[in-house]
């Protein structure tokens, strides 16, 4: 079964890229692949993950351990299960520094308290002595962010970091992530199913469906002129109001990844499908700089049945040098 199929994207330093999709679409597997943490029997079949000019799929496990947690850090969705329940949170933050920075216990501990303070935890010394179960969900997520920042990584992958949290706490964590991004000049790969969260924080958006990226665009383009019918349907279901007591819904169900339909995986649910959609999977079609879609409606030979041509968008905002390149990560 292919959980992730021919996925390519780049993240530039300081940039926030949001990977959007529903459960089972392959977004978490994509993130784990970047960290080379895919659990057997799952494996990365083909592809290239270039980070700082080095192909991470080619380096030794030992070299990878030096990257993981230090250069690329991961923040999980469930702050409860990501923390070890039997150790004090201060010690867990310090552990990263002892492992990666060979810090002494005392140094690491002092630094851990600084980090807890940096993620806006009041009374960091007291919190450092607490066990995870003594903290609220929001506090635990702050601790995880402190852990992720401990070694000053250049890329943070956050997998649904606010999904398990209440809406007011979610807003606080998003604020914190924004501040941390600016302060630490982080590149952020944010995985979420919530387009509201995307609008709050992303620079660029990748929409994933059934293991493939079906649309890639700057955040404003996605919200102003989404191209793929799936993206549009998702937006409608978030923004839509009941019309005569009916909400805009996407009919059908997310496809079973082990029995994907031929052609485009979204075709059975797509309101704008045309005959070729059931036959051949659409290739990537560039619409503008940094804006692409996998949809037959946009192929040059698609008939007049297709929608109006995509409004062209201005050049993407400027990004720093040295792109992080995640090339063709098949699995």
């Amino acid at each position: 079964m292919r959980a992730v199929d021919d996925v390519s994207f780049t993240i530039r330093p300081g940039e926030t890229v949001s990977l959007v999709g529903e459960s089972g679409c392959g977004k978490s597997v994509t993130a784990l692949s970047v960290m080379r943490l895919v659990q057997p029997p799952g494996r990365i079949m083909a592809g290239r993950i270039t980070f700082d000019g080095r192909n991470l799929l080619g380096v030794s496990e030992r070299a990878m351990r030096a990257v993981r947690g230090a250069r690329i850090a991961l923040i999980f969705q469930e702050p409860t299960s990501a923390l070890n329940p039997v150790f004090r949170v201060g010690d867990q933050v310090a552990e990263t520094l002892v492992v990666h920075r060979q810090a002494s216990g005392r140094q690491a501990h002092a630094r851990a308290i600084e980090l807890l303070e940096a993620v806006r935890i009041r009374e960091p010394a007291t919190v450092a002595r607490a066990y995870p179960h003594q903290l609220s969900g929001g506090m635990r997520q702050r601790v995880l962010i402190a852990m992720a920042l401990a070694c000053r990584p250049s890329l943070v992958i956050a997998d649904e970091p606010t999904t398990a949290l209440d809406v007011t706490i979610q807003a606080e964590i998003l604020d914190l992530l924004r501040e941390m991004k600016a302060e630490y000049q982080l590149a952020l790969l944010l995985i979420t199913h919530d387009l509201g969260v995307v609008a709050e924080i992303a620079d660029r958006v990748l929409v994933m469906y059934a293991g493939r990226i079906v649309e890639a665009a700057a955040v404003r383009t996605i919200f102003a002129a989404a191209a793929h019918p799936y993206t549009r349907a998702l937006l409608a279901s978030v923004r839509g109001r009941a019309e005569g007591r009916h909400l805009p819904a996407i009919e059908g169900v997310v496809p079973d990844m082990s029995a994907l339909p031929p052609g485009c995986a979204f075709a059975p649910r797509c309101p704008s499908r045309i005959p070729p959609c059931h036959v051949e999977a659409p290739g990537e079609i560039a619409l503008a700089a940094g804006n692409s879609v996998r949809c037959h409606l946009y192929s040059p030979d698609a008939s007049a049945a297709g929608p109006a041509p995509h409004p062209s968008v201005g050049p993407e905002s400027r990004f720093g040098a040295e792109p992080v390149d995640f090339g063709r990560g098949d699995r």
């Binding site: 529903e22 459960s23 209440d166 809406v167 007011t168 706490i169 979610q170 807003a171 998003l174 604020d175 924004r178 199913h193 919530d194 387009l195 509201g196 969260v197 995307v198 609008a199 709050e200 924080i201 992303a202 955040v219 404003r220 919200f223 349907a233 998702l234 937006l235 279901s237 978030v238 923004r239 839509g240 109001r241 009941a242 007591r245 009916h246 909400l247 805009p248 819904a249 996407i250 009919e251 169900v253 997310v254 649910r269």
Partner: protein, 292 residues
């Protein structure tokens, strides 16, 4: 003014405080003097964050847990004073759909039997009649009757929630507590299930208590909304009125925290106040009450 289908007065539910010493008598008020009424045919939203007491309120109303004090009247009848036999009859009228479609269906039972179970318990009809009713229920919630012999694990989250709904509707209730019915579902499936809930409401003349933390959903489907904070109701009114003219500081904070799907309106938020105060609800405009 029509009589309310459900009338909740001064509802209180206390639990032993967590971490308190055994028999120390320390209590925490999960629901603190909550009053509201729901009209026939209405969708009444009860919103709040985790721990605000909204789920406890829903369960007290159905007497799935016993409230500490207060009154719950269903069509004028005192639910909390009902005898065992009478309560059984009342339960046919008042049903619940749970949040988690994975844990609320017995994994060892075929889904047909799950939907039939309430009919068996309440001794409705003979086997053939029950079977026909189950088939009808499957059709009503948009499932293929051929799926009856399958097990819950063979269904997606959205389909499982439909099965939970079929079970809740088996006894033809007039009132359904829907406790976060779509929060465990994918965005693309949420709208399907909500549309089903609204269709059923129209066809079966149902009244809903819709418990949710997602204000975006509440805004879309509820007629009136009550906001809970730390066990108390802090605001209650027509959905449009609450969303257009929130009065209580907590409601305002909650509304401003909703991520807006518009990248040009980032991060304009109000921090929730440290304390909600304990002011009683007062009418700030017609039908709109706030604890300010």
């Amino acid at each position: 003014m029509t009589t309310a289908l459900l009338d909740v007065r001064h509802l209180v539910k206390e639990f032993p405080a967590r971490g308190a010493r055994w028999r120390s008598g320390a209590r925490v008020r999960a629901v603190d003097d909550v009053s509201f009424s729901i009209e026939e045919g209405e969708t009444f939203g009860l919103v709040g964050e985790s721990g605000s007491g909204k789920t406890t309120t829903g369960r007290c109303i159905l007497r799935l847990i016993t409230p500490t004090s207060g009154e719950v009247r269903f069509r004028g009848e005192d639910v909390l004073a009902a005898s065992r036999t009478r309560m059984r009859e009342l339960r046919r009228e008042m049903q619940i759909v749970f949040q988690d479609p994975h844990s609320s269906l017995n994994p060892r039972m075929r889904v047909g039997a799950i939907v039939e179970e309430p009919l068996v318990i309440h001794a409705v009809g003979d086997r053939a009649a029950r079977r026909a009713r189950v088939e009808e229920l499957f059709r009503v919630v948009g499932l293929d009757a051929g799926a009856m012999r399958r097990y819950p694990r063979e269904f997606s989250g959205g389909q499982r929630q439909r099965i939970g709904l079929a079970r809740a509707l088996a006894l033809k209730p007039s009132f359904v507590v829907a406790d976060e019915p779509v929060s465990a579902l994918d965005v693309s499936v949420q709208a399907q299930v909500l549309n089903l809930l609204m269709d059923l409401q129209q066809h079966l003349r149902l009244t809903y208590l819709f418990i949710a933390h997602d204000l975006r959903l509440v805004e879309k489907i509820c007629d009136r909304v009550a906001v809970m904070y730390r066990g108390r109701l802090v605001e209650l009114g027509d959905t449009a009125s609450i969303f257009a003219a929130a009065t209580h500081p907590y409601t305002k904070a909650l509304l401003s925290a909703i991520p807006v799907p518009d990248p040009d309106r980032r991060g304009s938020r109000i921090a929730p106040g440290a304390d909600a105060g304990t002011a009683p609800l007062r009418e700030v405009s017609r039908g709109h009450w706030a604890a300010v």
